[in-house]
């Protein structure tokens, strides 16, 4: 039996067109729900399915929806986080380009469950061409009567707008995304209040990742029990793993949560090319702490990776071979976070740029014996000391690279000059 959900039918010709999606049973779950279910029942099913957020933090989606006050005199909003910027991650792009109507159906169901009548899809600026195709799909849904006034002929109204970002990793952080949508620089907000009560335009707001929403139609169609069987207790469903780096078959693989990292790399992504050996793996996007070749017998789920000292994050697996100097990994990581720090919190703004400067100097051949300790101390000074998770996102991978590959990195470091 085909156990895939989100990627099912991906082989179908022109799945992105509404006709093909409908022929595969698309929009049935939403139509049935809007005609025959109470919003609370939809929310209950998603909560029971224990769907954890696919953006990175892994917060249970049903619980998040439940935080939105049921009756308020303000509008409520759903923001779709399609600001896929975590390096190594390309699964949301794949979902939106292969099967945009699955996302739209998920938006309808989530909006109905929470009582939302206006939803914004915040998509990263680099995906401009894709945003255009997504708008086409949204227009098809309007024309079919699945969006707009009287969705599926019911009393429920829903507008969906595609909103293009303009190049800022930080806008993947949910409160920065809200700021950006409001027409401001993407500076994360202090929490609380949480977006569920004070979000977009000061109103109750749910922010969900694309993949999270793409699971909703399947949960409603097949039931929470089915969904739970695909994953682990407390952690339902499959996961879309983006595999890249030094593997034979890079791509998106939908597999049950808890699949081992070794299986993913060798059985699904084809292992490394001839003559290359595994050196290390980044298991959950560039901000997740690195694992050595000896640490890949780990189950790919939120809790197992946390126990292994890393994180599942966006489930983006980057495979590093033995011929790549680990310094290159450090340099790419340091450069990325220095570029993407929004500058709001001093430890992150200064820490990321100090680390980048030191690494840049080292790469030009000028190395000092104290360099690694200095980098470590700058990273530790960021950890847990910023408004948003980016301080940790920058610090933890850098600390892990240094602690696990100290020997290799220390080669070529000259003794500290006397001062």
């Amino acid at each position: 039996m085909d156990e895939r959900a989100v990627t099912r039918f991906w082989e179908s010709e022109n799945l992105a067109g509404i006709g093909v999606y409908l022929a595969g049973g698309g929009y049935q779950a939403a139509r049935e729900a809007l005609h025959h279910m109470e919003p609370a029942a939809v929310l209950g099913e998603v909560r029971k399915a224990q769907l954890r957020g696919r953006g990175g933090a892994g917060f249970p989606a049903g619980v998040k929806w439940g935080f939105v006050p049921a009756s308020v005199d303000k509008p409520k909003y759903l923001c779709v986080n399609a600001d896929e910027g975590e390096p190594g991650t390309f699964k949301d792009r794949a979902i939106m380009s292969r099967n945009p109507h699955l996302l739209i159906e998920g938006i309808i169901l989530a909006s109905f469950a929470v009582g939302v009548h206006s939803s914004y899809i915040y998509i990263r600026g680099e995906y401009e061409a894709l945003a255009g195709r997504l708008e086409t799909a949204v227009r098809e849904a309007y024309e079919a009567g699945f969006l707009g006034g009287r969705v599926f002929g019911t009393d429920f109204d829903l507008d969906v707008t595609v909103h293009l970002g303009a190049g800022a990793y930080i806008c993947g952080e949910e409160t920065a995304l809200l700021e950006s949508l409001e027409g401001k620089p993407g500076l994360p907000r202090l929490k609380p209040p949480f977006p569920a009560t004070v979000g977009l335009f000061g109103c109750p707001t749910v922010i969900n990742n694309v993949e999270t929403l793409a699971n909703i139609p399947w949960i409603i169609r097949n039931g929470a029990d089915w969904f739970l069987r695909q994953g682990l207790p407390g952690d339902g469903g499959t996961r879309l793993f983006s595999v890249s780096g030094m593997v034979r078959k890079p791509g998106v693989y939908e597999l049950p949560l808890g699949t081992s990292l070794r299986t993913l790399i060798y059985d699904h992504a084809g292992g490394l090319p001839e003559g290359k050996k595994l050196k290390a793996v980044i298991p959950g996007g560039l901000s997740s702490p690195i694992l050595t070749a000896g640490e890949i017998d780990v189950r790919m789920d939120f809790d197992s990776l946390a126990e292994a000292g890393s994180m599942l994050g966006s489930a983006a697996v980057i495979v590093i071979d033995d011929r790549t100097p680990i310094f290159e990994v450090l340099k790419a990581t340091a450069g990325f976070f220095a570029h993407e720090s929004c500058g709001q919190c001093t430890p992150c703004r200064l820490g990321t740029s100090w680390i980048r400067k030191i690494v840049q100097r080292m790469s030009e051949g000028e190395r000092r014996g104290t360099d690694l300790e200095t980098i470590e101390s700058a990273a530790r000074a960021m950890r847990g000391k910023t408004l948003c998770p980016m301080g940790d996102a920058a610090a933890l991978p850098i600390l892990a690279i240094i602690s696990k590959f100290k020997g290799e990195l220390a080669e070529g470091l000259t003794p500290s000059p006397a001062r």
Binding site: G85, P87, G88, T89, G125, E126, A166, G183, I282, V329
Partner: protein
């Protein structure tokens, strides 16, 4: 420049503004409209948008400087964004970026003398299964090799000029 295009842009901008309960939320989409039309966002354009949305020009300036994709100066006719992040680096991106630079006679961040190409080394483009990858204007190109780059850039007139 802005007054000439404002009739067309104004119409589009008003359609965008209607999608949001607060008009300032239309700022990012309107800046995209302007850059698409004019190639960059000039101080005059900033003032125009500020007037349209009823905000101070500095609020527009901080958007233009915060977001990487906005430009304050015109770029070349084609903008090449070559990914320099890890997945592409593992597949040889640094060498290819040097190759493109040498071919066009520029370094990342510069525009070729004939004004045809601007080369940027950028962070992850979300196309890592196609590493090493780049975008030329809005279009993705992946699994790059020197030969592929020669064909792509040659077809766009690199080296003609």
């Amino acid at each position: 420049m802005i007054p000439d295009m404002s009739a067309e842009i104004l119409k589009k901008a008003e359609a965008v503004m209607a999608r949001y309960p607060h008009k300032r939320a239309a700022l990012l989409p309107i800046l995209h409209l302007i850059q698409k039309e004019a190639g960059c966002i000039s101080p005059g354009a900033e003032r125009w948008v500020a007037g349209l949305l009823g905000i101070k020009p500095v609020r527009v300036r901080e958007m233009v400087t915060f977001y990487t994709l906005f430009r304050r100066e015109p770029a070349g006719a084609h903008v090449i964004q070559a990914c320099s992040n890890l997945s592409c680096t593992l597949q040889g991106a640094p060498d290819l970026i040097d190759y493109i630079g040498a071919k066009l006679g520029i370094r990342p961040g510069e525009t070729s003398a004939d004004g045809k190409f601007t080369l940027l080394a950028v962070e992850c483009l979300g196309n890592c299964d196609q590493a090493p990858c780049m975008m030329i204007d809005m279009e993705y190109h992946g699994r790059l090799t020197r030969e592929k780059i020669d064909a792509l850039l040659g077809g766009m007139g690199a080296g003609d000029g």
